[in-house]
């Protein structure tokens, strides 16, 4: 059991990709099953690295790591799918791209891409 976790929210598109990555049985359901997410498990060491790299990040009373840049969360989702993993290795892969994510985070207050909905 890992010490900390990060929620990765899933819309329909992401849900499919998570299932295709063989992580379907890890999906959690909230709000009468309407909100779907996966929890990425994070070790103490990795949690400290995340908090060190991103100054807005913090942990809440549930031991969830929150308030990381949106770019971090997007990348985390991509790494979960790429690595087919909900463990530390996905987060470490994100941390390898810290510089790039920080660049995006700095621009986040100027521009965030809007989702395409119908």
């Amino acid at each position: 059991m890992a010490d900390y976790f990060i929620d990765v929210l899933l819309d329909e598109g992401r849900l499919k990709a998570i299932q295709e990555a063989g992580l379907g049985d890890q999906i959690k359901y909230r709000f009468a099953g309407e909100l779907k997410l996966v929890e990425v498990h994070v070790s103490e060491d990795t949690k400290n690295k995340v908090l060190q790299e991103f100054d807005t990040a913090r942990t809440d009373s549930r031991n969830a790591i929150t308030d990381v840049p949106v770019a971090f969360l997007r990348e985390l989702y991509h790494q979960v799918v790429a690595k087919k993993s909900l463990g530390d290795d996905a987060v470490l892969a994100v941390l390898e791209k810290s510089a790039e994510i920080k660049d995006l985070a700095a621009k986040e207050s100027e521009f965030l891409p809007a989702p395409e909905i119908d």
Binding site: L9, L10, F31, S109, L112, A114, P115, I117
Partner: protein, 452 residues
């Protein structure tokens, strides 16, 4: 007729203030030969970002939202408000409202009591101020402290000394020292830009609209947020209060003014509320989203008093108040609005609730707790009736979801409302108010003016 039927209250002070001249020829005559002054935003005393624009107060006063206030307050009136939250004509009122200018501008203008000053907005004549008194604020910090209260003077509800982290306190601290007191009159009606134009229901128009819709009882929902389903349930259920029947109408009144970074854009707030009725979650015939211009002071119980005044003036019979009503930080007890309306706050001049003192209000407070999803009841449940563990929805969780572009499930935010968020997100390239939005908004304001 049943004696339990509730009648629409008169405006606060007995009659609606309406100080708007609609005849341009008359207006031109009124301002002929008068000195003019370009309205400037109040700038933060340290960072110099805009924190208030007095034009919003002039609008709310002249269209009657703040009845019976008619203008910029005299020194005696401000002192009375700070002492017992009453105007000189006895009616209760929470905040000092003044037209303040710098000493340099005052010297340049060379005006005094008895003079008429033309106030320009965006380079066009907008209103006049008939000066009755010129006075000086000796210490704006002292004014700010007295406006919101201190833990020593107001131990019932004030928990922390106010400071520069409180946006309302900053407004008063940032005022210019010279006050020109006197009545305002709008002489050139501003035109609201879309989408604000269709939400503009000044008190007379709101009351006429209630008549048209046959609304006897109307409950107000205060908002500065895009509605999520918790808000929707609060509105629908609070409306079951009423008289013999649930309230006929739900008035949503959004406070439109200076924004803080991270707030939703005002455009998304008003259209988001509208989407609740276009989506049918609350029938259009029972639901009316509207706006009032005001730079929020975040004075929790005092702000709730202003809200009561505004909505009584608009013709509401009831007003919902929640936890941390119009609050920021932990300066006030989180239930201080409920304390005010339940028992009063003696140190603020209310030995009894504002509805139970002379020259007080008639609008009925409806103190609500919150709704959240209960997985056991399988419905949105009221915190005081459901006995299960509910799935609390925090604003930051929802904002995090929105920022990631993940469509919230419809039990959290209705798809029609989210669509509005995305529409304005595309417009501003950002889902919330960023620095650019805040600065632009204070430059553009919500209105345009024609030549007179």
């Amino acid at each position: 007729m049943s004696r339990f039927l509730i009648k629409r209250p008169l405006p606060h002070g007995g009659r609606l203030v309406e100080r708007v001249v609609r005849d341009p020829e008359r207006a031109k005559k009124m301002i002929k030969g008068c000195p003019t002054y370009d309205i400037k935003p109040t700038l933060h005393y340290e960072s110099e970002v805009p924190v208030r624009n007095v034009y919003r107060e002039i609008m709310s006063i002249c269209y009657g939202f703040f009845s019976p206030v008619e203008g910029s307050m005299s020194q005696a009136e401000v002192e009375r408000i700070l002492k017992e939250r009453r105007l000189l004509n006895e009616w209760i009122f929470p905040y000092p409202l003044v037209f303040d200018i710098s000493k340099e501008d005052f010297k340049k203008l060379g005006v005094g009591s008895g003079d008429r000053l033309v106030l320009n907005l965006k380079g066009k004549p907008f209103a006049i101020l008939d000066i009755e008194e010129v006075w000086e604020i000796s210490d704006t910090e002292e004014l700010a402290d007295k406006t919101f209260g201190t833990p020593e003077d107001n131990p019932e509800v004030v928990r922390e000394k106010f400071n520069k982290k409180h946006p309302g306190w900053v407004i008063y601290k940032s005022l210019n020292p010279i006050v020109l007191a006197g009545k305002y009159t709008i002489i050139n009606e501003p035109i609201f830009r879309p989408p604000f134009d269709r939400f503009w229901y000044p008190p007379r128009k709101a009351r006429e609209e209630f008549d048209k819709r046959g609304w006897r009882t109307v409950i107000n929902h205060q908002t500065r947020n895009v509605p999520h389903v918790g808000h929707e349930f609060l509105m629908k259920n609070a409306a079951f209060t009423g008289d013999l029947e649930p309230c006929h109408g739900i008035l949503v009144n959004a406070i439109i003014g200076v924004k803080r970074r991270g707030d939703y854009p005002d455009e998304a707030i008003v259209e988001g509320h509208e989407a609740v009725n276009t989506g049918g979650y609350i029938k259009n015939s029972r639901h009316l989203p509207t706006i009032c211009l005001w730079d929020m002071r975040y004075g929790n119980p005092l702000e709730s008093l202003l809200h009561g005044i505004i909505r009584q003036n608009m013709g509401c019979t009831h007003h919902m108040f929640g936890r941390d009503h119009a609050a920021v930080g932990e300066y006030y007890d989180k239930w201080s609005t409920q304390i005010l309306w339940n028992e009063g706050i003696p140190s603020f001049g209310f030995p009894a609730p504002p509805t139970d003192v002379p020259y007080g209000l008639e609008i009925r407070p409806q103190n609500m707790r919150e709704f959240s999803f209960c997985p056991t009841c399988k419905e949105m449940a009221y915190s005081e009736t459901c006995g299960h563990e509910r799935e609390k929805l925090s604003g930051s969780f929802l904002r995090g979801m929105v920022a990631q572009g993940v469509q919230p499930p419809s039990i959290i935010m209705r798809p029609e409302v989210f669509k509005v968020v995305v529409k304005w997100w595309k417009h501003f390239n950002y889902p919330f108010c960023n620095e650019k939005y805040v600065i632009n908004k204070e430059k553009e304001l919500e209105v345009d003016l024609k030549d007179l």
